[in-house]
């Protein structure tokens, strides 16, 4: 069996709202293994992004334990959490969040600069990452000159360039048309298979769901279902999918 990369036990997240508290996540018990291509789905406000933020150590649980690559998120200091993200986690955001004053190359390179990698190594890795996403000819362009699809590809390259163990993608196709969405998803699927990187999506896009191996549905902060598909998760093989109820 593969390594457990994420384990959540009795995870609860509450936010103060006025005089009371809003429960965003309630009693979440999930385990993700290395190399998974999974997604958390559900309507807006169901807690998908909150779960991803906690796993990404950008937020902390109110109760329970979240263990990411052997690190208990609740006990990490800001510096340790930053180090975890820097070395092991890549983020892909809905609106790409590219740094506007940098070129495509510099945006991707930034992740490696934070890891204090030398210039020669950085150049090699960045060009390879751009090759993965098919943007090696756009290295000197500014983000403002890119299309939506190209912008998200740069974001993928930026997340993948440091070869993280885990990539957290929050609604990565929400701003893309169908053609670009499929193209992006195929790229990510390919990287998942080639580099054995764990991908965890937050989405309510049907196109994304078609590619996922595992679908976790959140409703009102609780896991409503956890479905594992057998096969590579591409739409054509969905007919072969087996349904497994995890909880």
């Amino acid at each position: 069996m593969q390594d457990k990369i994420i384990v959540t036990e009795n995870l609860v997240k509450r936010y103060p709202v006025g005089d009371g508290q809003f429960t965003a996540l309630s009693d979440i018990n999930l385990t993700f293994e290395k190399g998974e291509f999974s997604g958390v789905i559900g309507p807006s406000g169901s807690g998908k992004t909150t779960l991803l933020n906690i796993i990404g150590s950008l937020d902390s649980p109110t109760e329970g334990v979240v263990n990411v690559m052997g690190h208990n998120i609740s006990t990490l200091t800001h510096k340790e959490a930053a180090q975890l993200r820097n070395m092991h986690i890549g983020f892909i955001f809905q609106v790409y969040n590219l740094l506007p004053v940098y070129t495509v190359f510099e945006n991707v390179e930034f992740a490696l600069i934070l890891q204090k990698r030398n210039a020669t190594e950085r150049k090699k890795e960045v060009m390879q990452a751009l090759e993965w996403v098919g943007l090696e000819n756009m290295a000197n362009k500014k983000p403002s000159k890119l299309s939506g699809g190209e912008g998200q590809r740069v974001a993928i390259a930026r997340a993948m360039v440091k070869r993280p163990q885990l990539v957290l993608a929050d609604e990565p196709t929400a701003n893309l048309d169908a053609k670009n969405a499929h193209s992006i998803l195929q790229t990510m699927k390919k990287l998942n298979q080639e580099l054995n990187t764990t991908f965890l999506f937050s989405t309510h896009d049907q196109k994304v769901m078609e590619y996922l191996n595992r679908l976790i549905t959140l409703e009102d902060g609780k896991v409503a279902s956890d479905i594992l598909k057998v096969g590579n998760g591409s739409p054509t093989e969905e007919k072969n999918a087996q349904i497994k109820t995890a909880q």
Binding site: G56, L58, H78, A82, R85, I89, F91, L114
Partner: protein, 385 residues
């Protein structure tokens, strides 16, 4: 820190015109500070040199009864000093008198000086070149106020040591130009031997001007006033001007720094998602704080570069050509040349750069501290108000 500067540089260059507008405002303050201080330093230097050359020499040995601030002390403020102690000293005898140019009465100080002296710049040699019975020299301002010219004769009245009035017609043998009002306005210079003869004060002196070789030893009845002591008023005046000037450039600096502060506050608000992204990518909050602080601090570096581009030619031109202030110095009774030449010391420039960089860094750090308290999730959503 290198990373912070690298990123800050990229961000500032990427911000384009906004960066250069801020740097422009700050560079203006920067140039004004250097110019104003340079002007004051130039004035200070000129006033010091002129004051030493024309009046102060290397100190004054003053008769105990004479008080420079008390005109009544002139009457008895003189004495004799044995010849052996007069080495490297130039005697000056002061008496009060009146002249009647064109029928007007003008109170004056008659100052006796050795025509052969070389301690001060008073062109006393003219006195021995003249054939007139009572040749005198006066400063340009005195000539203008008395409306007299070289060769003019004027009636002068004085009292001798017994209080007896006497009068004679003096001849203007020379008119000199000086920036030092203490040797010009309301004064006429005459040979000290002639003045002693006129006032029956043989060998009497009010004060002696020391030259560079003079070495003072205690002398009863005489007090030695050092060059520094004699300069004290001019120094105090210049220092006061510096303080006054600092208000001006303080306001200018404030404007420049306010622009940076404002930009930083706006920038942090506007770039929340970017801040969130930096944190998500693995930067610590303090790394982001350092980056934003470095960004603000770098405005001052850009201001220095920008200031150097347009400031060096302007400041150099002014230091070579000088700035004309007319006769306002003379009218105010202070040592001030009609044209002043700013002096820009390397210390002044480095100190100003340091102050500008430090201030800009501090005002950048103040709003950037907010980042350290930011919730990265809220920042990524751009929801921080």
């Amino acid at each position: 820190m290198k990373l912070a500067f690298h990123l800050a540089y990229k961000n500032l260059m990427g911000a384009g015109l906004r960066t250069w507008l801020n740097a422009g405002v700050l560079s203006f303050a920067f140039i004004v500070i250097i110019f104003y201080n340079g002007l004051i330093d130039g004035w200070n230097q000129q006033a010091k040199v002129d004051g030493i050359n024309w009046e102060w020499g290397y100190g004054h040995l003053v008769n105990d009864n004479y008080d420079e601030f008390d005109s009544f002390s002139i009457e008895d403020g003189h004495g004799q000093l044995e010849q052996s102690k007069q080495k490297n000293l130039t005697p000056i005898l002061i008496r009060q008198g009146n002249i009647y140019p064109n029928g007007r009465l003008m109170s004056i100080r008659i100052k006796g000086i050795d025509p052969n002296q070389t301690t001060v710049y008073i062109p006393s040699q003219i006195l021995k070149q003249s054939d007139a019975q009572y040749p005198v020299i006066i400063g340009q301002r005195m000539a203008e106020s008395a409306k007299v010219a070289i060769g003019d004769q004027v009636l002068m009245r004085w009292r001798d040591k017994n209080g007896t009035y006497d009068a004679a017609t003096i001849t203007i043998a020379g008119i000199f130009e000086t920036t030092v009002p203490f040797v010009d306005g309301g004064q006429i210079w005459i040979s000290i031997d002639k003045l002693r003869e006129m006032t029956l004060l043989q060998d009497h002196t009010t004060y002696f001007v020391a030259n560079e070789q003079y070495s003072h030893s205690e002398t009863s009845g005489w007090e030695f006033k050092t060059q520094k002591y004699l300069m004290r008023e001019q120094t105090a005046l210049i220092n006061a001007k510096k303080v006054g000037g600092s208000i001006l450039y303080g306001v200018l600096m404030l404007l420049g720094l306010l622009a940076i502060f404002d930009t930083q506050v706006l920038s942090i608000f506007r770039r929340q998602k970017e801040i969130g992204t930096y944190i998500a990518m693995g930067m610590t909050r303090w790394q982001v704080v350092r980056m934003f602080t470095a960004e603000g601090g770098m405005y001052s570096v850009f201001a220095t570069i920008l200031g150097a581009i347009y400031g060096i030619p302007i400041l150099w031109y002014l230091s070579v050509k000088g700035i004309s202030f007319g006769t306002i110095g003379a009218e105010a009774g202070i040592i001030m040349a009609e044209k002043m030449y700013p002096i820009y010391g390397i210390g002044l420039i480095l100190f100003t750069i340091l102050i500008v960089i430090l201030s800009a860094t501090i005002v950048s750090f103040l709003p950037a501290r907010k980042i350290a308290r930011m919730n990265p999730v809220e920042a990524l959503k751009g929801k921080i108000s």
